[in-house]
Structure formats: C-alpha cells, structure tokens
Amino acid sequence: MSKRKEKKAQVEKPYKKKLIKRRKPNRSIGGDIALYVFLALAAFVMAFPIIFAVNAALKPLDELFKFPPTIFAQHPTFDNFTDLFVTMGKSWVTFSRYLFNTVFITFVGTFGHLIVASMAAFVLAKYDFPGGQGFFKVVTISMMFTGWATAIPNYIILNKLGWIDTYWAIIIPAFASPMGLFLMKQFMEGLPTSLIEAAKIDGANEWKVFSGIVMPNVKPAWMTLIIFSVQALWNNKASTFIYSEERKTLVYALQQVQSGGIARTGQGMAVLVVVMIVPILIFVFSESQILETMASSGLKD
C-alpha cells in the first residue's frame, strides 16, 4: 500500500459509518421483526394476483389449465401475445386503430389537463383576487363525489354539444379534473413567492413567469398529474360516450377478447398485462416525484 493511500484511509476513518447504526428511539427489536414479517405477508397477498396474471399470460395453453396450478410459468412463451395480435390484426377494426384511439385520447387529454389545470393552479396559489378562494373551495368539494354522480347530465350536455361519438367527449371533460388542479395548487404554494417577484422586477409578464419560472420548478407535480390523468384515460372504456367501433378504445376492444370464454383464456391474460403495464411503468419511473407532490396534498381547514 502506498503512503498516500494510507494517509487517505486515516483521514476517512472518523467519517466511516458505524456498522450498527444507533437505533431510533421507541423501537423494540421484536416489534421490528414482527413488522417485517407482517409486511412481507401483506405484500405477498397484494402482489399475488398481479404476479399470477403476468405468469398466466406467459403460460402456453396446456399449462394454463393444469391442476394444481403453478404460480410461475414453467415454459414461458409469448404465444398468447402473438395470438392476441393475430386475433386483433384481422378484426373488423384493426388493432393499430384501437391503439391509436387510446393513445390519442390519453395523450391529448393529459397534455391539455396539465396546461389548463396548471394555469388555474398558478393564479389560485400565487395571487389574491376576489373569488379565487371560493372557487378553490368548490373544486375541493367536487372531489367529494365521483364522476358517476354527474355522468347522466354530462351525457345530456355532450349530446347537446354534438360531441357524443367523438374523441372530445372523453378528452374535454378530462381537462377539468379537479384532482389535478388540487394537487398542482397545493404544490405551487410551496414555491417561494420571491422567485416570481424577482422575475417580475426583471420585466417578465405573467405568461413568461408562468411558462419560464413556475412550470420548470413544479416538474414533480407534472408527473403526478400525468399519472392520475393517464390512469383515468388509459383505462377509460368510453362505452357510454362512443358508439362507433372505429373510435372505441383499446381497453374496450380488449375486453371483447377477454369475454371470449375458455378458448380465449390465454389471450385474456395477455390483455390484462397489456392494459396494466403502461400505468404501472409510469408509476415506477416517477414514484419519487409523485411522493414529493403528494406530501403537500393535505386538506387544510
């Protein structure tokens, strides 16, 4: 060992972590072990159906009906997926069209929601103007009932607008989702006001402050809005608003495959995987940002 390295090791020694960290106060070892065991069991129960579904999608047909069932596929294949694409490829409306419908609805709906909700959240969080607080209160109350309670009048309104059987029937109402505005506003309140004031003194107008200063600083909140919006739109069957087959969404088409009975079991499992993979992947990659946003999600009195 050279002299230099020795010296370095000596210097670093005081900073070395202790092997056994000082335990947090008020924690017993027995309690910790119980906690790990309990959480492991609970996690297994929660994950089991999903693991089972993924594996069932990978099983060849003879394995699917084997009893007792195996949890993990013994000879994983992608047959079910290729079968699914063959089935869908030659259907009346092609698979790519369904996919396009869903991707279009999800993308446009999410993008519009992000812009529209952020604009409103910006002024609600950072400016004091008459009616602002009242409006926000109404938005908070509207989170207290589901979309189902307003589904019928929505249908009547969309019908009057002539949007039934178009993409807009799904996209435009998604712009105004109260959840997105709520989370965005709560997160923006954490931004220092001095940042905005400094930009204003430098001569930026409101739009520039919004697009140049505020939006780049609330990126974690973007991800949160995106995951909630994608989750809602990607899984939207749209069966009540869209009647033409060529405008139906992917989930709706896939459910038809799923309802095909025993012969389609394998493909049905493949459908489950195709539908769930997108929201879960987005969540996995943006988890820390979403949690950062949710930290300010509390309802204040």
Partner: protein, 312 residues
C-alpha cells in the same frame, strides 16, 4: 336599528367596491383561470344543477322534459325494490370497505415508513400497483370460477371442506363478500400515496422531543406525534376513500355480471347505468344521481368533522 342597517350597507358597499377594484386590477388572474373555470363549470358544477333539475322531470332525450314534481323520488323509494337493494348493497360495501381500506392505507403507509429507503420505494409500488393495474381484478373471476376448475373451489374440494363446487359469483350469498374482498385489494389508492408522502414529511426532531418527554413506544408515538401532524393528509385520504367506496360499479359489473343474479350485487351506480344508458329514462336516472350525490357529500362532511378531532 335603522342606523345600524345603514352602516352595514355602507360597509358592504365599500367592500364590494374594493373587491370590484381588485378584480379589475387582476384581469390577468381571471384570464389564467378562465379555461379551467369554464370547463369545470360545464362538466362538474352545471351537471350537478342539471341533475337536480332533471330529477323533477320525465326526460328521455328525444322529447322535451316534462315536469312531474317529486314523482321520481316517490317511485324511487316506494316502488323500486331494486333501488332499495342497491342502496343496501352500496351502503354495505361503503361501510365495510371504506373504513377498512382507509385504516389499512394508513397502517401500511405507517409501517412502510419504518423501512429503509429502497425497500420502501419497492413496497410502495407493490401496495399501490393493484389500484392502477387497470382491470386486473378480472383475474379474481378465475380464482372464484363456479366450476371445479376454479382454484378456490378446487382447493376447498381437495381439502375436503366442500364436496360440490360453489357458484361463487352466481350465488347471491357469496357475491358481495367476494366483491368486497376485491375492492379491499384495490383500496390502497391515492390516499395511501398521500399518507406515505405525509409520513416522510413529519419533522424528525419532534420524535426526539417526544422521547425526552416520555413517549415510550411506537403506539404512543403514533397517537401523540404522528397523527396530529398528519391531519391534513388524513382528511384528504378520507375524501378519497369515501368517493371510491360509494362509486363502486366496475368490480361488481365485471365479476358478478350486469345485471347480477337477483340483483344481489347491484350498486347505486349500476342502477344509474341501467336507467340512464340502457333505458334512457334520464329523469329517473338523475333522481338516482342526486341521491348518490347527497349521500356522498353528507358522508364526507360528517367524516371530516369527526376526523378534525383526531389527536387533540
């Protein structure tokens, strides 16, 4: 007295003038708010008003609405047995899955919070995944299939508890419990995320201060320090789980069919679908929607005033 009113009016007038001036100066704010406000009013506020209005009429979209007073509500409560079943089912589901799901969300978030960082993020994904996994709950219809190929049936027959397969999803006795099971599996939703995030934000020094002041174990720590700090998140989580619990329809429709045997798994929302989208009796459907709306708002208000007392 007269003078008092006079003064009061002067004050109100003054206030209104100040507000108007402020509003005039903050035109930009309204411009920013306008796109959202218009869409929100159109698809969230106006529908509530319209729903209440149409609930007093007979309306089937083709003909203009015909006013008929309280007739919809009267037939809803007095004549429609299925609606009463659906209310019973919805309340049963809400009362059982709502609180359990809510408490489980908090419990798991709290326990997860004790884990080291990377285990925590994996655990959050595992617990949250069922909520965002689309229609993954359909897998339960394979577990609970009515013939001998259904895994639960096969398992129970192997052990020897039953000797004939049980029609889990067709027999009205078993439908609701199974739906509740599936709903509970999916109940760690937005509220859960909020709890996880909120728990990480609790100030560490408070725990140490509590230790000095004689907090002895993790339960005391939970009640005296964590819960009071988490109050805003608890309120938010409650809103989320109540909204979810009353809006149940996808799971029951996918598992038990639509309509289900004997209407045993019918919820208010499926009843609404039936009258709204299948029979196009919009007036009647709006009456159902109004009842649902009132139930949800009242329940939310009640739970919120209850939760405000936590930890005080």
């Amino acid at each position: 007295m007269k003078e008092f009113f006079h003064k009061y009016w002067a004050l109100r007038k003054h206030n209104a003038r100040v507000a108007w001036k402020k509003a005039k100066r903050s035109k930009m704010c309204y411009a920013f708010l306008a796109p959202y406000a218009i869409l929100f009013a159109m698809f969230f506020i106006f529908p509530v008003v319209a729903s209440i209005f149409f609930s007093f009429t007979y309306y089937n979209i083709l003909e203009p609405p015909r006013f008929m007073g309280l007739q919809n509500y009267i037939s809803l409560i007095l004549e429609d047995d299925i609606f009463l079943t659906s209310i019973k089912n919805t309340l049963l589901i809400a009362v059982i899955t709502g609180p359990i799901g809510y408490i489980a969300s908090f419990l798991f978030a709290w326990l997860i919070n004790e884990l080291p960082r990377w285990v925590r993020s994996v655990a959050v994904i595992i617990f949250y995944a069922p909520t965002i996994a689309g229609n993954c709950y359909v897998i339960f219809s394979i577990f609970f299939r009515g013939d001998t190929y259904g895994y639960v049936n096969a398992l129970l027959m192997d052990i020897g508890i039953i000797d004939t397969p049980i029609l889990w999803l067709i027999n009205p006795t078993y439908m609701l419990p199974i739906c509740m099971l599936v709903i509970l599996w999916m109940s760690l939703g937005t509220g859960f995320l909020s709890f996880v995030a909120g728990l990480q934000g609790v100030d560490r020094s408070q725990f140490e201060a509590g230790y000095m002041d004689g907090v002895k174990n993790r339960w005391q720590e939970l009640w005296y320090i964590t819960l009071p700090n988490m109050k805003p998140m608890l309120l938010f989580g409650a809103v989320m789980s109540i909204t979810q619990a009353f809006g149940v329809c996808d799971v029951t429709m996918a598992l038990c069919g639509y309509p289900s045997t004997d209407y045993a798994a019918r919820t208010i929302v499926t009843h609404l679908f039936d009258y709204g989208y299948s029979r196009f009796e919009m007036g009647y459907a709006c009456a159902i929607a109004t009842v649902l709306f009132l139930m949800m708002i009242l329940c939310n208000k009640a739970i919120q005033s209850l939760l405000r007392r936590v930890g005080t």
